[in-house]
């Protein structure tokens, strides 16, 4: 059908690996913006630690992707020298932090997603993806616990905190649908038992979200949350990603190959 019939798909999950790496890197980068600005020292430290875990996970995926690609590709060239339209992260993670409630809710949605995703990715027929998932899952378990506690604290807290987390829900919910809508490469690798069929983790994700929301005295979110026009996994991003990359990639682009 299509004119450009270039099928770059081998059995090597390069794009899939990049997608997982980009999700963690961009989420980690966003959280790191809180370093030095957290509402309390303990929370500043906590969110910085979570950022570090996520950036560490992204390094593991980038290193593997670089190995698959060869031709002098490195984890740095993948993180620092790609354009926004080459990034494959979901839109949710690139959204600005907003207030503490929005940051927390975004992390909660994302951690719940990673928690169920990695539980399945451990069974991947690709040994390295399975190993990274196994390693990451332990960390994500803590992220999920920490963010769940905060959702409960804010939802079941003061009138102000409850209002803020409800606002956050209004702003974020539409972006959650993308997590469970497979991209072309996710479909491809799920069929090969290398990747995870993301639509299959939605039930668990919904259940967890509802359970925590109930405890937080928050209304159960309705609808599929599919109101996103663009699709980050396929490289269609909001202008927010541009801004992140401009900041993150500045040094490598201004001084290519610099080291210290």
């Amino acid at each position: 059908m299509s004119e450009n019939h270039i099928n770059i798909s081998t059995n090597q999950p390069f794009n899939y690996c990049l997608h997982l790496a980009d999700n963690s890197l961009i989420m980690g980068h966003r959280l790191s913006e809180w370093t030095g600005h957290g509402p309390m020292l303990e929370q500043d430290i906590a969110i910085s630690n979570i950022a570090l875990d996520l950036i560490g996970q992204s390094r593991n995926f980038y290193q593997y992707a670089a190995q698959l690609k060869g031709e002098g590709t490195t984890e740095d060239s993948l993180a620092y020298l790609r354009e926004a339209n080459e990034f494959k992260n979901i839109l949710l993670v690139e959204l600005p932090n907003g207030d503490w409630a929005k940051t927390i809710l975004k992390l909660f949605f994302f951690s719940t997603y990673q928690y169920y995703l990695y539980q399945k990715l451990i069974n991947s027929s690709d040994k390295q993806l399975s190993a990274i998932a196994e390693k990451s899952l332990k960390e994500v378990t803590y992220h999920l616990r920490w963010s769940s506690e905060w959702v409960i604290r804010l939802g079941d807290g003061t009138e102000e905190s409850n209002k803020r987390i409800k606002n956050a829900l209004d702003e974020l919910w539409a972006y959650t649908g993308e997590m469970f809508l497979p991209s072309t490469y996710e479909t491809e690798y799920a069929e090969n038992n290398i990747g995870v069929d993301v639509s299959s983790i939605k039930i668990d994700w919904d259940k967890k979200v509802n359970e925590i929301f109930e405890e937080a005295t928050l209304p159960s979110p309705n609808g599929e949350g599919l109101g996103v026009r663009s699709f980050g996994k396929e490289g269609n991003h909001t202008q927010h990603l541009q801004a992140i990359l401009k900041d993150m990639q500045y040094l490598q682009r201004a001084y290519p190959g610099c080291e210290w």
Partner: protein
């Protein structure tokens, strides 16, 4: 040859025992369970290490320290391989290492990391006064591997090395 190889292996493990965690200088990387294996083949040494946490900033430094220590002892061809699976767990920490942590003022991990146990509230003993009447202040302490607790009896806050 086999004898020589065994002597080398023994010597390498002894050298590795001298290398400490950059963030907790009282315990060695062997106590922590980071070193998974050592291979020796003629002049080539390969050390397999596993990171504690994906983003642990100490890992690069530990790799460098291993390389330096082995070089200083005449092992010139050193390769350090990071191994992610099986994932590091606090269960690999030696009993000696846990004891050293306690003396240093960090409560060692309680119990095993299997199942979901490490998500439950645990009775962590205060490394100062040994009271078990302690409470969790923050799930994340000064580094990713630690949580912050406070003793309800002596009132001292302390780090707890989380089960992982």
């Amino acid at each position: 040859m086999i004898l020589e190889k065994n002597i080398s292996l023994k010597k390498i493990w002894q050298i590795l025992e001298q290398i400490t965690d950059p963030e907790i200088p009282v315990i060695s990387i062997i106590d922590l369970g980071i070193v998974r294996d050592v291979h020796v083949d003629e002049n080539n040494v390969e050390v397999f290490i596993t990171p504690t946490y994906s983003g642990c900033p100490a890992m690069d430094m530990i790799s460098m320290n291993i390389r330096m220590a082995l070089l200083q002892n005449g092992f010139t061809n050193v390769k350090i391989t990071q191994q992610l699976s099986p994932a590091w767990t606090t269960d690999w920490m030696t009993e000696e290492g846990k004891e050293k942590l306690k003396v240093y003022g960090i409560a060692p991990p309680v119990g095993k990391s299997i199942d979901q146990k490490y998500l439950e509230e645990l009775k962590v003993e205060c490394p100062q006064c040994h009271s078990k009447n302690t409470k969790l202040l923050s799930q994340f302490g000064s580094t990713a591997c630690k949580a912050l607790y406070q003793c309800q009896d002596c009132k001292e806050p302390f780090d707890y090395f989380k089960c992982h």
